[in-house]
């Protein structure tokens, strides 16, 4: 064989090998994307019972479907709200039973496949901004009930808004690779060693409630490690920090009476905490509507979460000292409500002394709250919440930093200072 021929043979052989590997990988990715799926039954759903619809309405609350599938001020479930991600905006689609633009033509089996396998009616892979890594745990009967409820809504003709994702994240192939790496369809596995209430709580927290869609950190490709991870994370783009539900130094509730956990989820306020930011939306749209036994179950589960590898903060040496600029600002803007000793007013204004939310490592929420102010959600249990004014137009980045630094180092608090750069970074994402 002559030399050029040998080169051609070598290159050709390598090419064939590479193509084979690529094809095998593609086949593996494809297989990982559809494995475990049963054939889809396209037959239209049979008539639903009133009981099933009512149950579906309740479960849709537990899953807070409406939260994403309703634009601000829009008709419920008609979609159009953007879920911002680091890869672009994903727009929630119309879930009303309109045949042309909603899910009017879907079968139960297709609806189930969307929840359990994350694939649409036409087989397209769905973006995990739709939290199917959690919803995959929803039981078939519950999925059918939710579908029955959605079919009972008035159909609204509202075309879906296409996602606005950057290349290559807008490609189905990229999504297939992501799913091959990070998604496995799996039913909820009850833990026989635990009580029925704990298992119900686990089902609600890990599945329907999709708590770890926020309360867990995400890797560079936007994946959480698993639905059991509730160790806290910064919500991408919105930049609110969803605190750890396990750590006693963040939002862990192992030391709380169960009734306080229930109160927080039911009313938005509890003796030692109140909800703010995105969690207000959750209480408003979802948890306030849950029945007592489900809230008890969630409290059971959350109170039993192991603290994981949370470590106690170490008192700094030398201690952090509150600054005088911050002290002056506090006196001017905060003391009237939060008190001279950061003691707050019970039932109205949170105490700042020894408040875990003030001491968190991530200062994102503090900056949001000072800049935007806010009310706790109005719920039947707390119908007339007290409010805090926004300071975005009053305080500049240096002042917010000085104020927060003061609060974090006063009245027994010992948390690191806050820099103006941090404030500026969060201010730019505050809206």
């Amino acid at each position: 064989m002559s030399r050029p021929n040998r080169w051609i043979g070598w290159i050709g052989g390598t090419l064939v090998l590479l193509i084979t590997i690529a094809l095998l990988l593609a086949a593996l990715v494809a297989w990982l994307n559809v494995r475990g799926e049963e054939p889809v039954d396209a037959a239209p759903p049979r008539g639903a019972t009133a009981e099933q619809i009512e149950r579906g309405a309740y479960l849709a609350r537990a899953a807070n479907c409406m939260g994403c599938h309703t634009a601000r001020g829009g008709t419920p479930y008609t979609g159009g709200r953007a879920v911002p991600t680091p890869f672009g905006d994903v727009y929630a689609p119309n879930l009303t039973p309109d045949a042309a633009t909603g899910i009017g033509g879907w079968s139960d089996s297709q609806f189930w496949r969307a929840l359990h396998h994350g694939r649409s009616r036409d087989g397209r892979l769905l973006y995990p901004a739709f939290p199917y890594p959690n919803y995959t745990h929803i039981e078939r009967a519950d999925a059918d009930a939710i579908h029955a409820y959605l079919r009972s809504l008035a159909p609204v003709h509202q075309p879906n808004r296409p996602h606005e994702l950057r290349f290559p994240f807008d490609q189905q192939a990229a999504l297939a690779v992501w799913r091959a790496l990070y998604f496995r369809a799996a039913p909820f596995e009850p833990n026989p060693a635990r009580s029925a209430a704990w298992n119900r709580g686990a089902y609600l927290v890990e599945g329907l409630g999709h708590c770890n869609a926020c309360h867990a950190s995400r890797n560079v490709l936007g994946a959480t490690s698993n639905p059991l991870d509730l160790a806290g994370g910064l919500i991408p783009v919105q930049n609110w920090y969803a605190p750890s539900l396990a750590s006693p130094w963040e939002a862990g509730v192992a030391q709380w009476p169960a009734a306080d956990v229930v109160a927080l989820l039911k009313t938005g306020v509890a003796p030692r905490a109140s909800v703010s930011g995105p969690m207000s939306e959750v209480v408003l749209g979802s948890t306030q509507h849950l029945n007592a036994s489900d809230l008890d179950a969630m409290a059971d589960y959350l109170r039993a979460l192991p603290p994981g590898n949370a470590v106690a903060p170490v008192d700094p040496d030398p201690p952090y000292r509150p600054g005088t600029v911050g002290a002056k600002l506090y006196e001017q803007h905060c003391v009237a409500c939060h008190g001279e000793q950061g003691e707050g007013v019970r039932g109205a204004y949170p105490a700042l002394a020894r408040n875990r939310a003030v001491l968190l490592d991530s200062t994102a929420n503090l900056v949001h709250i000072v800049l935007e102010g806010g009310f706790a959600p109005s719920t039947p249990g707390n119908p007339r919440p007290f409010g805090m004014p926004p300071f975005a137009t009053v305080l500049n980045d240096n002042e917010v930093a000085a104020l927060l630094t003061f609060m974090r180092a006063s009245w027994g608090n010992q948390a690191p200072p806050v820099s103006a750069v941090e404030v500026g970074r969060f201010r730019s994402t505050s809206r």
Binding site: V283, G373, F375, P377, S378, P385, G387, P389, V394
Partner: protein, 239 residues
């Protein structure tokens, strides 16, 4: 006696130290379980009791018609009006509470400060006055007084006053309607009007309105003498 003089000195020093402390404490009102206490989230920008004067940007809300205030609160919350601070603040509040908030501020009767001096030419001001009092039929613009009341103090329950507002705020609102940034429940009569207004007419209107003293009584009229020239969705209950 020396002792009593010393006592007196000690007492005066104590008083001198304590009086400012007491005064400082008195400045911060004690906590009350009232609507006013709950509404501290609003008064930071809209002034104590919502009395913001016409020298700033934020509009006065005290004494505005209740339904008007309620419509605005709902519009901010639901995205028909575009101001992120208001939208974020109101996002977690339900209609019942927003109505109570609206009624709280509507019920406050607080004197108005004098208006800002006009800083525009006589021509501009007279164009402003013409648009407000008589409209411009060539541009199919009804007079402001036709809907906002002959005294321009609004009409209960849903039409707001145009007097006693900051010039910058009036400019910004008419501009926002003109560019589609502000909406009212349809039919959005103010959007139709603002789209017929040239920028210099908006400026003339705002200049003239902001320079008018608030008439007595500083309250919305009970009704209009004639039907409104345009149909306005915002004057009913929001959808």
């Amino acid at each position: 006696m020396d002792l009593s003089r010393a006592r007196l000195a000690v007492a005066s020093i104590a008083v001198a130290i304590c009086v400012p402390l007491v005064a400082a404490r008195a400045a911060a009102a004690p906590f009350e379980n009232t609507m006013a206490q709950r509404m501290q989230a609003c008064t930071g920008c809209h002034g104590a009791q919502g009395r913001a004067a016409s020298d700033g940007y934020y509009p006065r809300i005290a004494g505005k018609p209740a339904q008007y205030l309620f419509n605005q609160l709902v519009s901010f919350r639901d995205g028909r009006r575009d101001y992120a601070l208001m939208t974020n603040l109101l996002a977690p509040l339900d209609d019942a509470y927003l109505r109570e908030i609206a009624e709280h501020f509507a019920s406050l009767e607080i004197p108005y400060p004098p208006p800002q001096p006009a800083n525009a030419s006589v021509d501009t001001l007279s164009r402003g006055e013409q648009l407000v009092m008589r409209g411009d039929s060539a541009l199919r613009l009804p007079a402001c007084v036709a809907c906002h009341g002959t005294a321009l103090m609004g009409v209960a329950p849903a039409v707001p006053a145009l007097i006693g507002m900051p010039r910058d705020y009036l400019n910004a609102q008419l501009g926002a309607w003109r560019t589609g940034k502000r909406h009212a429940p349809g039919p959005d009569c103010m959007a139709q009007i603002a789209q017929r207004l040239a920028p210099q007419d908006i400026s003339a209107l705002s200049q003239w309105l902001a320079a008018q003293p608030v008439p007595a009584p500083a309250k919305p009229a009970a009704s209009l003498p004639a039907p409104m020239p345009l149909e306005c969705g915002g004057t009913g209950a929001p959808r």
